[in-house]
């Protein structure tokens, strides 16, 4: 069981990058602890800015820094950062096209029992409707490293969604082909596809393994970049497997499943099931418990897969 948090890896990678790139500035809103950014603040005090608990201000300040040649990374809880400061993200970052990197910490339901104030289940829906922001999520610590490096190479507004707790590895190392906007097929298959991102990539892989014992050959796609979507990969999956399950640690309204469906329904309609958090304050609990409660478990995904395959065969 991996015990290294993705947020810690993001911090370590930023420290590595900052040794050479002195334009990197990390900003926290009384969040250096929860963002695991304290080591950065200690190592590079002159490249670290504390704004106190003021999300609107932190995003505006970051935009001003970026407009003056800095490469700011705002590390703040995703729930507050994306909704409290939504307008600063829309205007000061996206519309003004400033090179601000937003690191949404403890996203999704990873704050667990703290409840809906601390859950971030609207951020993808909100941000993907704003032109000009790249949105990405790492599936494990190895991908967190690659994603952070890619963010530093990418010029423009971008949002990285990061969970709170350590997640199990889905890669053996960080030595693999990673490109922003290019989804990764983790497991090939032709019966149906599961397309997901972040922590639930692992769940999808476990589900696919379970399905294989029943003769279902499930493709698993890690769509680490949610905007821009890898439409080619989605349509290939639709064409070749004829059924798609999406899984997201997010509201099922307007989020990742909706984004995939927009592509599928307009180009290659196939039966789909959108799995995620329904229209309610999410039940409190540990991530795996909450996922299972909402049907995101290997066992239930097998049942959903069988339903979709049946629909596909019956000409839905």
């Amino acid at each position: 069981m991996n015990t290294i948090h993705n947020r810690r890896v993001v911090c370590e990678t930023l420290i590595e990058l900052s040794e050479k790139d002195r334009d990197i500035v990390v900003l926290c809103s009384d969040s250096r602890g929860s963002a695991s950014m304290a080591p950065f603040a200690e190592k590079f005090p002159s490249q670290f800015i504390e704004t106190g608990i003021a999300e609107q201000n932190i995003v505006g300040i970051a935009a001003g820094l970026a407009a003056s040649g800095k490469k700011p990374y705002v590390a703040s809880p995703a729930c507050f950062l994306t909704t409290r400061a939504a307008e600063q993200i829309k205007i000061d970052v996206a519309y003004s096209n400033t090179n601000v990197k937003l690191l949404g910490i403890s996203a999704g339901i990873s704050y667990g029992a703290l409840g809906m104030t601390h859950h971030s289940l609207q951020d993808i829906a909100l941000l993907r409707a704003i032109p000009g922001i790249l949105i990405a999520v790492a599936a494990d610590r190895h991908e967190a490293k690659r994603l952070t490096e890619a963010f530093n190479e990418y010029t423009g507004p971008a949002y990285m969604r990061i969970g709170r707790n350590p997640v199990e590895d889905v890669y053996d190392s960080d030595d693999y082909d990673f490109q922003l906007g290019k989804a990764i097929t983790m497991r090939d298959g032709n019966s149906l596809s599961i397309i997901t991102f972040g922590e639930t990539v692992k769940t999808a892989l476990e589900a696919a393994e379970l399905m294989s014992t029943g003769g279902i050959d499930c493709r698993v796609i890690n769509m680490h970049t949610i905007k821009p979507l890898d439409n080619d990969c989605i349509l290939k999956a639709a064409n070749e497997t004829g059924a798609i399950i999406t899984i997201e640690e997010h509201s099922i309204f307007g989020g990742f499943g909706a984004a995939v469906a927009e592509t599928v329904v307009q180009n290659c309609p196939v039966p789909m099931k959108i799995m995620g958090i329904p229209d309610e304050p999410a039940v409190p609990g540990k991530s795996r418990e909450v996922f299972a409660y909402y049907g995101i478990s290997p066992e239930n995904l097998c049942i959903e897969a069988e339903k979709l395959i049946k629909m596909k065969k019956n000409g839905w």
Binding site: V25, S46, Q47, I49, T51, G52, A54, Q56, N57, V59, G60, I61, A62, A63, G64, L65, A66, A67, S68, G69, K70, P72, E87, Q88, I91, D92, Y95, S96, N97, T98
Partner: protein
């Protein structure tokens, strides 16, 4: 004509350009544009280190129009300074024009997109912080409306600016006392304004926002107190220079008819420095 006479003449010309542009386009926020005109003329012709030929020079002073709706005066000043051709403003607010009704950083000389109130000061804090980090000597000026001060984000930024000891940052309040609904003090009381800024740790300067010697003095480096950001509270008249617009909230974004346009032009053409 002395320096301040030239500034008065320039301001009268800019006001005339504003009136022409907003009449031609039947759009704009004329009241606040006329109240801030003398502030902008002081900054762009007397204070700011900016070069229209090199608008992104790293050492330039930064100006942010946080009260972004008062774009008319800003466009007319930038065009007059040569950041873009004056003729470009013929497309102001027209279909597909980049000269929209709020600042747009696709236009040379404009640093950031603004228009939703309460954003500019935070961005200015970021620019001033970057200047300090890089040991640059540029200054950052942010012009805010007085109605805008009801936005909580302004005070987040005010707190941060003094916390970071940003003496390279100057906020300017266009204190015309009116907002779209009426008097600021009736809509949401913002007084005692100077005390508020003082208590947030700012160096507060009060000035007549239409008097060029006072404005240029207020923006001068000699008034900087090391370790403190400065706020200039500029007392202004909304609609300044056009009698029937002055102090009338109707002209926040009113559109002139032909008779009103002619009358406004006549009044602005009578400014003594224009007649000289």
């Amino acid at each position: 004509m002395d320096k301040y006479g030239s500034l008065r003449k320039k301001a009268a010309q800019i006001r005339r350009d504003i009136i022409d542009m907003v009449y031609r386009s039947a759009a704009g926020h004329v009241g606040g544009s006329l109240s801030e005109t003398d502030i902008l003329v002081s900054l762009y012709y007397c204070v700011l280190n900016v070069d229209p030929k090199n608008p992104l020079s790293p050492d330039r002073d930064r100006f942010l129009l946080s009260k972004g709706h008062s774009i008319d005066a800003y466009y007319c000043v930038l065009a007059d300074k040569g950041f873009f051709p004056k003729d470009d403003l013929k497309s102001y607010s027209q279909f597909s024009s980049k000269y929209i009704g709020h600042p747009n950083n696709k236009i040379p000389g404009i640093e950031m997109n603004t228009g939703s109130l309460g954003h500019g000061l935070s961005v200015g804090v970021g620019m001033a912080l970057a200047g300090k980090m890089d040991n640059k000597t540029y200054r950052v000026f942010v012009l805010l409306g007085d109605g805008e001060l009801a936005e909580g984000s302004v005070w987040e930024a005010a707190m941060a600016a003094s916390n970071y000891e940003l003496d390279n940052l100057t906020a300017i309040i266009d204190r015309n006392g009116l907002q779209i609904t009426g008097k600021t003090e009736d809509v949401m009381r913002i007084e005692p304004l100077a005390m508020k800024w003082e208590s947030f740790g700012w160096n507060v300067i009060h000035t007549d926002g239409h008097d060029f010697p006072s404005l240029c003095d207020a923006f001068s480096k000699k008034n900087i107190i090391p370790g403190k950001p400065t706020v200039v509270i500029a007392e202004t008249v909304k609609g300044k220079g056009v009698s029937f617009m002055e102090n009338n909230p109707k002209w926040h974004h009113g559109v002139m008819n032909e008779a009103e346009y002619k009358r406004a032009c006549e009044e602005l053409d009578k400014v003594p420095e224009v007649c000289e």
